[in-house]
């Protein structure tokens, strides 16, 4: 078996609005339009990923929140309906997905060996969170690839960002080690927004883009700062200031997805490809790809 490899890492935000506006057959509500800058960003991402071979998507989602360690999907096949508890008017999605349980177990074991609390999720009635679904759908709408689903540990709230990041450094390294041993070619998805202060009201026509903008300028400045560091390949510095960013921009990076992915990619020094940036109900979202070797 040849050595496995993480072939790309993607900041893949999960606002359900993006799936809603795409009007895929899996989603019951239908939209006229909306959030094109981000949807086109995902189009560019899909085009980019179509140029490489990969076997599996590994997704870390803040909307599967666990406090007792990190959990991994451990059932080979899930088929059910996901209704977003926050935006049920937009997202009622019938999913049918495969899980690479062997790889999930390998990462779980590797992480446990590194001292992390871990658990496999074996309940067949479990409903997949919408963060996982949206990020995977927007990356691979046909669901051709199996996934590994990883929960987000709440250590940032239970302790602080430093503790959470220390845990995600370990989880990222464990993910890389397990992928390499598995022989798989993996794409990582960090399923999170950047700044994350929402508006608490919606327009009557949810996709009315005349209402869409960043919640506040402070958030926007912070988002641009982070994206600039990504573009310059200064990911260590980005992670070093993530505590301040998270606090001051109410960022969804508190869930640990981005830290996990940077660690798994061994803190890339090469420039990331920013496919696009846009806001969704006031939050800041970027679709960003890290791939060392580009055609």
């Amino acid at each position: 078996m040849s050595k496995g490899k993480i072939v790309a890492g993607v900041l893949a935000p999960h606002p359900p609005h993006l799936v809603y506006a795409e009007n895929p057959p899996q989603n019951e509500p239908k939209a006229e339009c909306g959030w094109e800058t981000l949807r086109w960003a995902y189009e560019r991402l899909r085009k980019s990923l179509s140029q490489i071979e990969y076997d599996v998507l590994i997704v870390h989602s803040p909307h599967w929140r666990t406090q007792i360690g990190t959990h991994f999907l451990g059932v080979p096949h899930f088929k059910s309906l996901s209704v977003d508890p926050v935006f049920p008017n937009l997202f009622r999605y019938s999913y049918d997905l495969k899980v690479d349980v062997e790889l999930a177990e390998a990462i779980c074991k590797e992480a446990a060996g590194a001292g992390l609390e871990t658990q496999m999720m074996r309940n067949k009635d479990f409903r997949i969170d919408y963060g996982t679904i949206v990020s995977c759908h927007m990356t691979d709408p046909q669901w051709r690839k199996p996934i590994v689903g990883i929960s987000s540990n709440g250590a940032a709230r239970y302790f602080n960002m430093d503790v959470m990041q220390a845990m995600m450094f370990k989880l990222g390294k464990a993910t890389r080690a397990a992928v390499e041993k598995s022989g798989r070619r993996a794409v990582l998805l960090s399923s999170n927004s950047l700044s994350h202060r929402h508006f608490t009201k919606e327009p009557d026509v949810v996709e009315d883009m005349s209402f869409e903008h960043i919640n506040n300028h402070n958030q926007y400045l912070w988002d641009m700062k982070m994206i600039d560091l990504m573009k310059r390949g200064r990911t260590r510095e980005m992670i070093d200031i993530l505590t301040d960013f998270t606090e001051q921009a109410t960022a969804e990076t508190e869930g640990g997805s981005l830290t996990w992915m940077m660690s798994a990619l061994d803190f890339p020094k090469y420039p990331a490809e920013v496919h696009g940036y846009g806001t969704v109900i006031g939050t800041g979202n970027a679709v960003v790809e890290w791939r060392e070797v580009r055609p």
């Binding site: 599967w64 929140r65 666990t66 406090q67 007792i68 360690g69 959990h71 309906l81 209704v83 508890p85 926050v86 935006f87 049920p88 009622r92 609390e117 658990q119 999720m121 074996r122 309940n123 009635d125 479990f126 409903r127 969170d129 929960s151 709440g154 250590a155 709230r157 239970y158 929402h198 608490t200 009201k201 919606e202 109900i281």
Partner: protein, 319 residues
């Protein structure tokens, strides 16, 4: 009186799926069974539920599917098993609740979608205190950004909706006290409150509630949030809602039916019954008048048994 009784109830799935695994969990389960019997004995029309396990962003979401049905699995405690549920919702009252909330300038909407994920807390409490759906329920979400004023108004909107429909209710806040879980897997027999600090704050809160001082407890919410809650949301809101829907006073008889740790968190089963006399240890005036009604002599009027007599005709304008 629209709310004839209030409860604070825990919502972790252990109470349904594995109560026998720990003597404390069993006691909490038995207390929930007692609540079920207490409610059965009341002449009420509906359960009004505020669940801290159901977060919302777009204002306040109110369940309006007449019969939500699914098999629930908790995100964290999925290994304990699945909980099939079929609830009965008072959709008419839910709509009225939205109307009164909107009239008070809140953002609110009904939720009526097949497959909507009813939260763990609402499912657990419904299964235990209303297992046969004898009473319909109305369930409202907990907005992650809302704070005291918004939550008080939400409680008032609930009360107003009940009054408009002439319905009598039991109000239920589904919440733990301290909410810090153990971060590592434990043997159930080794369960305990996560820290001494959490334990002390829980006991302090329970002292207030046992004395019937719901409004005082509610006014301690910010402090409690800082001291004994993992800060996942803007503030600790369930007691603001409960105090508001029940009339913002200390005029209750409190009953601590049980208090035990569940996986490190503080699980209290508390009943609050409206009473004509308040506890003596008053920190806050009980009324929430819309019109100033003169001095209420809250420092005078000590009686021989030590209690303080109060004017219980709240919100009434006096000449």
């Amino acid at each position: 009186m629209s709310c004839v009784k209030g409860y604070v109830l825990p919502g972790l799935p252990h109470l349904v799926l594995t109560p026998d695994a720990n003597p404390g969990w069993k006691k909490v389960r038995q207390a929930m069974d007692k609540v079920r019997e207490q409610i059965k004995a009341l002449d009420v029309d509906v359960l009004m539920i505020y669940s801290t396990y159901w977060p919302s962003v777009i204002g306040h979401q109110i369940q309006a599917n007449p019969s939500p049905e699914w098999v629930h699995v908790d995100d964290e405690f999925h290994a304990l098993g699945s909980i099939p549920y079929k609830l009965r919702i008072d959709a008419e009252l839910a709509k009225a609740y939205v109307d009164t909330a909107r009239a008070r300038k809140l953002t609110a909407r009904t939720i009526n979608y097949q497959g909507f994920p009813v939260d763990t807390g609402s499912v657990v409490v419904s299964k235990l205190v209303n297992p046969d759906n004898r009473l319909p329920a109305v369930i409202v979400s907990s907005n992650i950004y809302s704070d005291r004023a918004e939550t008080l108004v939400l409680g008032k909107a609930a009360r107003e909706a009940l009054e408009k429909q002439g319905k009598r209710a039991v109000a239920i806040a589904v919440t733990s006290l301290s909410n810090r879980l153990h971060e590592h897997k434990i043997d159930p027999k080794d369960d305990k409150i996560h820290s001494l600090k959490d334990q002390e704050w829980n006991q302090k809160f329970l002292e207030f509630l046992e004395a019937g001082r719901l409004e005082d407890a509610a006014q301690l919410s910010r402090q409690f949030h800082r001291e004994a809650r993992v800060n996942k949301v803007a503030n600790f809101k369930p007691f603001w809602w409960l105090a508001s829907i029940m009339g913002q006073s200390n005029l209750y008889t409190g009953e601590i039916l049980e208090y035990q740790p569940i996986y490190g968190s503080g699980a209290a089963v508390v009943g609050l019954t409206p009473a004509a006399r308040a506890a003596r240890d008053l920190e806050f005036d009980e009324a929430d008048p819309d019109v100033y009604s003169g001095e209420r002599n809250v420092l005078g009027g000590n009686t021989t048994d030590g209690d303080v007599e109060l004017d219980v005709e709240l919100d009434v304008e006096k000449p």
